[in-house]
Amino acid sequence: MSILEIKNLKASVDGKQILKGINLTVNAGETHAIMGPNGSGKSTLAQILVGRKDYSVEGRVRYDGKDLLDMDVEERAREGIFLAFQYPVEIPGVNSTYFLKAAYNEIRKHRGQPEVDAMEFLTLVKEKMKILELDQSLLNRPVNEGFSGGEKKRNEIFQMAVLDPKLAILDETDSGLDIDALKIVASGVNKLKRADNAQIIITHYQRLLNFIIPDFVHVLFDGRIIRSGGKELALELEEKGYDWIVKHPQAKELVAS
């Protein structure tokens, strides 16, 4: 069953077209990797999926059978969409635990489940922290404030572990992580993988895909997916660069259409 179905998605801002017709279907149980050069529109796609309203958008996006573009940011989150941000925001003064518990309970409320109290939440948090090998003291601090680059990224995946999304989008979660952290984060993401959820991994590096094995790899170039393939596409890309892809007949055909 498809979780996400993107049909001819276009987006522009200030008259500048960024996404030029994206088609992508993600089914339950799948992991998709999106690669592509800087500025090709990967983050824009991710932001539009979570509900950023800065863009004028055309096309259709169905999520879990519903029209996604009609939904508010928080509604999408409550319906199970999660973005691990490329640049997580620091929120001075808002305690991490308090914030995450509020988010968790909003999602539970939305699902018609009872809210958890502080004790129950703490138990959950402790269990999830182990997966990410995250230092518990981070949770006593304001959200992301003063976190190192790597800590911020790890914290995003920790939030993902707690909120248990149906569709997780990871925007360059690997950048800024040292090799040990990368392995921990990747194994965390793998543990969260189930038959009824899906993941979209945005990355520049094949390295991450050694640890999180994608079912599909897509190359986004100048606002279009110009090539899709299996995990071997990432290896090929690493070897031959984007230039090779652009010149590939499959890509030429797409760009022309």
Partner: protein
């Protein structure tokens, strides 16, 4: 960020308001012939100087640089009815209790319309605290040495007016090297419903060398502010005036935490001056929380008069409706190697107006001064305004002075992040506003006060912006 801003210390002459002045003089004559006799001889010239300064200064107008953004015409227009007599009947303890800070273990001194009410108060054994009108009999020597020695009657008409008409207030004396364990909660309750009635509480705290104390100076109205009842019309609706003056003397190596909380009714006017005189190596942390009153003007003046002093000024003001809240602070570095850190946050909604003016003087001898000031302001509506202004006058060359002021709306990126995790837009907004206030609230060391203020924030946010 170092900025030296020259400011002319000369003030524009202010034309005294002759008619107002006369009625005040007449009232003073009457007061002097009656009740004033009960106060000691040494006090008389001080009072007399007070009324003379007031007659000369008159109520300030917006032409006066110090009052440029705060028009107190509504106060000047009121009939002048100082509450000179102790109230004939007191409110019931049960009523007063609604104003207590839950969970705060403290000595409590309750004042009703400016007059000390021992019946409603409870002071722990061994603490030297009493009403000022009693202290001027029992502690004449100390009072004579300190009372009115630090404030500037000649500059501030309201201080002058207080000096002419005060009848009571709190007197607290902490002897050398002693410590007041639990804080002292000074609760000033206004309950008069007569327009123009005014109280002029006068407080004196003497913290001798090596002593430690924590004091809460809390102004509220009866009936109690019912934040949770969905209505902001609390207390009586009469336009009344509280005009308070507090002097705190902090001896060498002494340590004082002072928390002023202004939570008067939304029809009340609140004018207050806090003057703190610090000696070497002393530490002061001073909080000013202003949540009530129609117009609140709070002057806080610290003199760092000895080496190695540490001072913190920590302020939070909330404005909604048509409230006006004005803080004027002065940190006067008069000796070397002192540190002062000032943090003021304002949250303004509706048509409210905020004013923050932070002066830092660094005198010629005050080398190695470390002075920091931040003023952060959150405007929650298009009609709310803030005038924030740092004023640095630096006469020493080896100093570190920084200041920064921000005025802004809530950060959209932060709101988006919170929403992207499932938190509703309104709730996200509230979280950020709350965080902005907590930044200041968290510097208060007394947990029950923090909790009470957090609760107040939540209630105000539940109801409207702030």
């Amino acid at each position: 960020m170092i900025q030296t801003e020259k400011m002319s210390p000369a003030r524009k002459p202010v034309a005294p308001a002759p008619t107002a002045g006369q009625s005040f003089l007449a009232k003073f004559e009457e007061f002097e012939r009656g009740r004033v006799r009960q106060s000691p001889d040494w006090l008389y010239p001080i009072r007399k100087a007070g009324i003379a300064h007031f007659a000369e200064l008159g109520f300030p107008t917006v032409q006066n640089e110090e009052w440029r953004y705060t028009n107190i015409a509504p106060i000047a227009k009121l009939p002048f009815h100082p509450i000179l007599e102790r109230p004939a009947s007191l409110p019931a303890l049960k009523e007063i209790e609604t104003l207590f800070i839950p969970g705060l273990k403290c000595s409590r001194m309750v004042f009703v319309d400016g007059h000390y009410a021992p019946e409603l108060s409870a002071i722990a054994d061994g603490i030297k605290a009493c009403g000022l009108s009693e202290a001027w009999k029992t502690e004449a020597r100390l009072l004579e040495r300190h009372l009115g020695r630090y404030v500037h009657c000649e500059e501030n008409a309201f201080v002058a007016l207080n000096t002419a008409f005060f009848t009571d207030g709190a007197f607290i004396h902490i002897p050398a090297n002693s410590q007041i364990e639990d804080p002292v909660h000074l609760l000033f309750v206004s309950r008069s419903s007569e327009p123009g009635s005014s109280s002029h509480p006068r407080n004196l705290v003497i913290a001798e060398r090596g002593s430690r104390c924590r004091i809460i100076e809390h102004y509220a109205s009866l009936p109690a502010l019912s934040e949770s009842k969905g209505s902001r019309s609390n207390g009586s609706d009469a336009p009344t005036l509280t005009n308070a003056v507090t002097e705190i003397v902090v001896g060498e190596d002494a340590s004082v935490e002072h928390c002023k909380w202004q939570a008067e009714s939304l029809s009340a006017f609140h004018i207050a001056t806090l003057q703190v005189q610090q000696e070497g190596k002393s530490r002061v942390i001073q909080h000013s929380i202003s949540t009530g009153a129609k117009i609140a003007r709070i002057d806080i003046h610290l003199v760092l008069g000895g080496e190695g002093i540490e001072s913190i000024l920590n302020g939070l003001y909330l404005g909604g409706g048509d409230q006006l809240v004005d803080h004027h602070t002065v940190v006067d570095h008069a000796a070397p190697r002192c540190a002062s850190h000032e943090f003021y946050n304002g949250i303004l909604d509706g048509k409210s107006k905020g004013v923050f003016n932070g002066k830092i003087f660094v005198r010629k001898d005050a080398q190695k001064t470390d002075a920091k000031q931040t003023s952060r302001n959150l405007l929650l509506s298009d009609e709310a305004t803030i005038d924030t202004k740092p004023q640095l006058e630096i006469f020493a060359d080896d100093v570190k002075c920084t200041h920064g002021a921000t005025v802004g709306q809530l950060n959209e990126e932060e709101i988006f992040y919170l929403r992207s995790r499932g938190i509703g837009a309104e709730n996200a907004r509230r979280m950020l506003i709350h965080a902005f206030a907590s930044d200041v609230i968290n510097r208060i060391t007394l947990a029950p006060i923090r909790e009470e203020l957090e609760k107040l924030m939540s209630e105000r946010l539940d109801r409207e912006g702030v």
